[in-house]
């Protein structure tokens, strides 16, 4: 005799009665490893089995870098305009509005100052979720103002790049943000204030052609895509197959553009170790 007896044949539960697993309970990494989202969060958003560094945004990076997640956000309310009346499949203002609603962010970068291991640090962190982390006037201005804050208060600056490149909807104006941010970085360099550039997955286009590659140290996370022209464009233009690992952070380290690659778990330690060493201060524990 069986333990369970099925009286009726087939599935008879109505759709309304079916129980669903709550959304976002699990995360699946590209190699197929599955991890509990809670565990993922506790592991600095790195898949514990394969070390895959999940793409995260400013909220998570601030949480990782600032002590007790306490910080003051700078220029919180800066928003994009539509100077060129740009329209592709959507009008630019509509696209902005949709992105803002979807992400709850004002634009593709957030800047903040707070204590990291007890000392002030200015962090500008890009959000890929907002129109591919594209750099327009707002991103340029906010990074420039963050650098300005560093300059006035003599606080080290860290920029976390995560961007598909310049924002096409602001055309040449977004291109000029490369120059604007570089002006501020030049001033910062003249004042001998440390500037750390963290290139995360992905750092491409205009960001690599400006602030992402201009750090006193350029660092990255394992397996991040970093490059000027994206891999697809390079392949289509040259007609050649790309070598394995092309434009990964490991590739960039080998070719001399990164000082080191760090696991996200070590990020806060390494950044502060560098700051203490280069400013000749005793190392913080």
């Amino acid at each position: 005799m069986s333990w369970f007896k099925r009286t009726g044949k087939g599935i008879q539960t109505t759709t309304e009665e079916k129980k669903d697993t709550p959304r976002g309970l699990w995360y699946k990494s590209p190699t197929g490893k599955i991890v509990d989202t809670k565990e993922l969060e506790q592991n600095f958003y790195v898949s514990p089995e394969d070390g895959y560094h999940v793409r995260i945004g400013s909220k998570e990076y601030f949480e990782i870098l600032f002590d007790d997640n306490e910080f003051k956000e700078l220029d919180k309310n800066l928003e994009s305009k539509d100077p060129l009346k740009f329209e592709d499949t959507k009008k630019y203002p509509d696209r902005l509005k949709a992105a803002q609603e979807k992400t709850n962010l004002k634009d593709a970068v957030r800047t903040a100052v707070g204590k990291s291991k007890g000392k002030d640090l200015v962090v500008a962190c890009m959000d890929f979720a907002f129109i591919g982390g594209s750099m327009g006037s707002v991103v340029g201005e906010k990074i420039a103002r963050a650098a300005d804050y560093s300059l006035k208060n003599n606080v080290p600056l860290m920029v976390i790049s995560k961007s598909g490149g310049a924002r096409m909807m602001e055309a040449a104006l977004s291109l000029m943000q490369l120059a604007k941010t570089s002006v501020k970085l030049a001033q910062l360099a003249d004042a001998c204030i440390p500037y750390i550039s963290l290139c995360t997955d992905p750092t491409t286009g205009g960001t690599t052609a400006s602030f992402a590659m201009l750090g006193d140290i350029n660092i990255s996370e394992p397996g991040a895509l970093i490059g000027f022209a994206g891999p697809r464009i390079v392949r289509d233009t040259t007609g050649k197959e790309l070598p394995e690992g092309f434009q990964t952070s490991e590739f960039l380290l080998e070719h001399g553009f990164l000082d080191f690659i760090t696991h996200r778990k070590e990020l806060k330690n390494k950044v502060n170790q560098y700051i203490d060493l280069i400013s000749n201060q005793p190392l913080r524990a």
Partner: protein, 317 residues
């Protein structure tokens, strides 16, 4: 531990001592006296060998497979404070030239140096301590970064020469070394340079211009390696011993002709015989040298450095 030919008497005595100790452990026989005697003999033998080293033997010691290399020194001196930095921001990260920030006491230093490998695989990985142009450009980038933040520079020199390769020439080996030498003469922070092993030619001077230039007792420093000198002047590698003598490449000779300022004494038998001791000696020497140099203003520092190099050379007027 590996032994060079002239180190064999040491090996013999060390083997004897080992055997003696084993006997002592395994049987009731009291071996303390015999052991003490052998140890005494060993100390005498080490001293004797070191006293009468020929220049060629010193060259061999400087290349001893067990001799500590740049990163061994840095890790021992700085411990966990060392943060290695990579890349020339141009074409490559040269594994033969390493660099990074580290602390001695509470003072930060920018360490730069050639790195050799300790087995076949790592020797290849480090290109036998022969840097490419990107290595010299990486060194310069780190020096410039140190200058920007007022951090003193320490270079540890250990190279059979800059890499004589096709691509090295294409990328401008000569230019890279030249640029380094020029920039180092006017770098605004103190530079302490120490030859820890081989100091061959432009490859060594490319990171070797400094306010205080020192050599370990069993290192060598010259315009060419004895082998290459022999093959150029005698047309054969056979005469390397003669060449080593003729080049006056030992630490004491280099001090005599004022190419270096100071000799750092090694433990009896060479740096590889007591690594901990040579690490602490070098660490202390660096800290002491910096104490002397930090009092000088950048202007005084640079003008003293420039004068020092302007004075080099001997001629009839």
């Amino acid at each position: 531990m590996e032994y060079l030919e002239f180190e064999l008497p040491i090996k013999e005595l060390e083997d004897q001592l080992q055997k003696c100790k084993v006997i002592g452990e395994e049987s009731e026989v009291d071996v303390t006296e015999t052991c003490a005697q052998i140890e005494k003999k060993l100390a005498v033998a080490k001293k004797d060998i070191c006293k009468n080293l020929t220049p060629w033997q010193r060259v061999q010691l400087s290349r001893h497979p067990n001799r500590p290399y740049t990163l061994d020194y840095i890790h021992a001196i700085c411990g966990d404070s060392f943060l290695e930095m990579h890349g020339d921001r141009n074409v490559k990260d040269d594994k033969a030239m390493i660099g990074g920030l580290g602390k001695i006491g509470n003072q930060s230093y920018m360490f730069i140096g050639q790195q050799k490998g300790y087995n076949t695989k790592t020797r290849q990985y480090r290109n036998f301590g022969m840097a490419n142009p990107e290595g010299y450009r990486k060194a310069l980038r780190l020096m410039k970064s140190a200058e920007k933040f007022g951090i003193p520079v320490v270079t540890l020199i250990d190279t059979p020469g800059a890499y004589p390769g096709l691509e090295a020439e294409e990328r401008g080996q000569g230019e890279a070394i030249a640029r380094n030498i020029l920039e180092m003469t006017r770098l605004k922070v103190p530079i302490i340079a120490i030859v820890i092993g081989e100091g061959a030619s432009g490859g060594a001077l490319g990171i070797g211009v400094g306010d205080k230039v020192m050599m370990l007792e069993n290192s060598w420093y010259s315009v060419i390696s004895p082998e290459n000198c022999s093959s150029i002047l005698w047309r054969s590698w056979e005469h390397k011993e003669k060449a080593a003598k003729a080049l006056k490449l030992t630490a004491s000779d280099a001090k005599k002709i004022k190419v270096v300022d100071e000799i750092i004494k090694e433990p009896v038998g060479g740096a590889h015989r007591d690594r901990e001791k040579i690490f602490s000696t070098v660490g202390d020497t660096i800290a002491k040298a910096y104490e002397g140099l930090k009092k000088l203003s950048p202007t005084d520092l640079i003008s003293a450095r420039m004068d020092k190099y302007l004075d080099m050379g001997v001629f009839k007027d």
